[in-house]
Symmetry: C2
Subunit: 575 residues, 2 copies
């Protein structure tokens, strides 16, 4: 294997594709009928979206180990005089875009120092009471620059803002020690292969902000690696906390290597897909030997977490006999087919100890796959699904004994009334290991809108404690997503994750909502765009109707118009 | 006033605008590389979307009073032989499109016989134990043709389908007597002004399918009545159970009259908007006299339900003093302004008895408005919001004594963890009167995606008992929706309402999901499109990638491709 430094050269070659530029978004809409007041000109200077998409400027704060942790720092307009005046503190957001979000957007990933394979895993270090640089990095990231925000607030001379934020800032900060403790208790993981120096540490667990994974990858019907690179960039620009490369087809290794060398976030795979490719596409030809070969190669190349469907047992498959939609997980289908063909137990279950050896050596986080998740409301929360979950609990315990980090995969299609039950059982059977769910989708009829069907269930399960949500795009059940679908799916899932954070009281989550609502009440339109989940879209939607009428400084919007604006009507009720 | 027959002529003139045709959707995608197999040709004949949008054919079933109740009857493909074969029963869906959904899509509304103003209200009849034709109509509509479905199923010779649907069909049917009882207990309303003979009866209450309202209407920034007509049609095609005309501006009367004469669903208004227009746009000039004049005129013209902000009291407004976003309801803002200007109590509260007299005379349902709903997560579930809700409970009791039907309006921005509390308090304070909520929106940062932010909260509150959801479009907080936004907002809210129905176990709700999932498992693609919330969109998304490869008969999709399709892999596990 190449060492990290050699890898970085390869990475910089691969990652030179995207175009990026700093675009003053206000310039897009300048037209003859836009009054060029001094105010508007100022705004043109001030409001910038990096590459037309990312709000604010990249800034860093050092972790307790001195490593720079990246954020987007969004400067906000002052409170208008009619609301009492005063400056606003800048708001900080997590920034997962790595080299895509700085400089010219083509930069070489910053390589982090990593131990050689075989060093203690994050879990082993945590148990021994050792705070690692990764824990410190992840802790700082979770804090969203609250310390800087508080300091700036104190210098703003804005009593209205001080009153607003006071109680939101009272929550304790995330400390490296807290991260260590959550990892040691196996309620959180930091998926980070020692062979993936391009990636930044990310902590995933119920006590932290809810994470969102974006699936990308080639398939038999869509073979372009270049397209997957564009999807990676798109997913990061939308805030994907991890990505999974679900590629199948002949280009599987090239695609993965390209994505790994470019990705600043943890990257997951489902190794059984590559194993199936090597078995010539026929599940009957699969074997433990082929799988092991793939496992080790993927470990060496730097995959941070791997979905392992070791809980799909023969007895569980039997429970799917009367299902409406049978087995809908690709991995589950492949293994069920293999077990049927060979009349033997799942080789991933039988060889789980060997899988743990490899995982421990590279500190790969195992994402124990839900091969029997439900594919329809009728099958939701059935015996097969829960039998597998119980087995995942046993496998999780075995992994814990070996010092291997674990996430547990869950849902599929589940009625809203049955969603929380999944989290409850996962807590019981899997000892609160980070739960990582697809959706759940709360109805079967949403084709074309299944990102929403899934986000509804995801918010509820996130609020109940699920640590990471796997996004779903509008193409679910219909076809492979393109970059546009990735954007739509990610935006909706960032909303779900954020709403879950608010519901479960994650410290700091409400700061952004408060800043947004203050901007709304004070008619600071540019700030509203920058603070929203997709600034470019929000701005475009607003501009469609009030363009060229001083819209961005108007004290009303086209929804109610000037005479019906309730916030305007009620503004001086208490003067 | 004109009598209903005279009105019908006016209506047919107004409603002649829309173009409609029966389009075999398969024809759209025929291209040189599409193999014209006999199968594909058959499908071209079979799959039809009325006006390119509505699945199935319009059929009627008689109510117990003999009135024809419209449905869409969707014929499904047989189970393929490899899955055991056998015909499928046709699935029935509610059809709210009235004249837009039949013939050439331009038809004259069918006028229903109505008593003169002053006859007993639905509530008064219900209390006296009298089942009305409206109750019978509404009951039949709620049953979704389950009786016909069951009968057809028994003749299909499809054991797989019989097993699938058996338990879903075991739930009791909705009877006219049940509707009467729910209305008598004031847990349901049938909003139907005696002066609106164009409208079909619709029952709204927690024991029935969750309804969705679409807001349309002109504003100062968007004055075209023609555009509102297009939005009405769009809303109905998407399944809006009621519409609200929230017009402001000079064309307010013309627009309302046009919409009323065209609308086959109950139409609601907020009369204070028109009152404000008559007061020259200045809240200070408002008076009870102006409002009463508007109220009576709107009653005469046939408005079925009216939002009345009678619960915004001076003492409650005081509770908004320290809010982050103050008052965000237009009606609430107008009345708070008026109270401040005049130093007097809300005239709607003071004259509530007179409002009840008019409502009783025309059987107008009062939708008691939440003028103090929260405009930000920070203000969610606060003292002002709940003080108003308690007052709405008192007003609801007064209306009950007078025989007037009532809905209670609720939410706004509320964290997911606080959503169910709203329903609980409404149940307690408002005696389970139908709750009608905007969202709730579960975060403030969703601008551009607030239809989703709202649908997430709406599903949860719907599952907790809310009877009707007010849709939110992607333009919320940014501008006025166009027809495209109406479609997007409605689709997402139909999903929310349906998911709520599943969660609370509304009889028959799961039939559609079961039919959809059976179609999915059996690779009946056309059926999947027809059963989804937006058939045209589902079909288009699927066709984008597999077009011309026999996609609609393929036993896989582009998501997994042929070798990874789990349903294909697992199909014969149990043979």
């Amino acid at each position: 294997m190449t060492n990290p430094t050699e890898k970085s050269r390869a990475a910089s070659t691969v990652s030179s594709a995207p175009e990026a530029s700093i675009i003053p978004i206000a310039a897009h809409e300048r037209s003859a009928d836009t009054p060029e007041t001094p105010d508007a000109a100022d705004a043109n200077e001030r409001i910038r979206l990096f590459a037309g998409r990312l709000p604010g400027l990249r800034v860093y704060r050092p972790s307790t180990f001195g490593e720079p942790v990246p954020f987007r720092r969004i400067e906000l307009e002052p409170t208008p005089e009619c609301f009492g005046g005063g400056r606003q503190p800048a708001l900080w957001l997590a920034d997962v875009t790595g080299p895509f979000g700085e400089g010219d957007g083509k930069g070489t990933p910053r390589l982090r120092a990593r131990p050689e394979p075989g060093a203690p895993t994050q879990l082993q270090s945590a148990r021994e009471g050792r705070v690692t640089p990764e824990m410190a990095f992840a802790a700082e990231r979770e804090n969203l620059g609250r310390e800087a925000f508080l300091e700036e607030l104190s210098r703003c001379g804005n009593p209205r803002a001080e009153a607003l934020y006071a109680k939101l800032l009272a929550a304790p900060a995330f400390t490296p020690e807290f991260v260590r403790d959550e990892v040691a208790r196996r309620r959180a993981v930091i998926p980070l292969n020692v062979r993936h120096p391009e990636a930044e540490p990310m902590v995933i667990g119920r006590a932290f902000s809810t994470k969102v994974n974006a699936n990308i990858g080639t398939s038999a019907s869509s073979k372009s690696g270049r397209e997957e690179y564009a999807k990676l960039r798109e997913a990061l620009f939308c805030g994907a906390d991890t990505v999974m490369d679900l590629s199948t087809g002949p280009e599987i290794r090239t695609t993965r290597e390209m994505l790994l060398r470019a990705s600043p976030v943890p990257l997951g795979t489902v190794p059984i897909y590559e194993a199936l490719e090597r078995a010539g596409g026929d599940p009957a030809n699969l074997s433990w030997e082929i799988f092991r070969e793939v496992l080790v190669e993927q470990a060496e190349s730097g995959v941070d977490y791997m979905t392992i469907h070791a809980g799909v047992l023969k007895a569980h498959v039997e429970l799917t006999r009367n299902r409406l939609t049978g087995i809908v997980s690709r991995g589950g289908g492949i293994l069920a087919r293999w077990m049927k063909d060979h009349g033997r137990e799942n080789f991933l279950y039988e060889h789980f100890d060997e899988i743990l050896d490899t995982a421990a050596r590279y500190d790969i986080t195992l994402s124990l796959g839900d091969g029997l998740r439900s594919g329809s409301i009728a099958d939701g929360n059935d015996a097969a699904q829960f039998a597998e979950l119980r087995t995942l609990g046993q496998l999780n315990a075995a992994a814990g004994r070996r010092g291997v980090q674990v996430m547990i995969e869950g849902p599929g299609h589940v009625p809203l009334s049955g969603v929380v039950e999944n989290q409850r059982l996962e807590d019981d059977w899997c000892a609160e290991a980070p739960f990582y769910t697809l959706g759940p989708l709360v109805t079967d009829i949403g084709a074309g809108y299944d990102h929403v069907t899934a986000a509804i269930g995801a918010t509820t399960i996130g609020a109940a404690g699920t640590a990471m949500l796997c996004y779903v795009t509008p193409k679910e059940h219909l076809g492979l997503p393109d970059a546009c679908d990735v954007r739509e799916g990610m935006a909706v899932f960032r909303i779900a994750a954020h709403a879950a954070d608010i519901a479960k009281g994650i410290p700091g989550a409400l700061l952004r909502d408060a800043a947004m609502s203050a901007a709304r009440f004070e008619f600071r339109w540019d700030d509203q765009f920058l603070l929203s989940v997709d600034p470019e879209r929000a701005r475009r939607f607003h501009g469609e109707q009030l363009k060229g009428r001083g819209a961005r400084t108007a004290h009303f919007c086209s929804m109610c118009g000037p005479s019906y604006c309730p916030m305007k009507l009620a503004r001086d009720l208490f003067d």
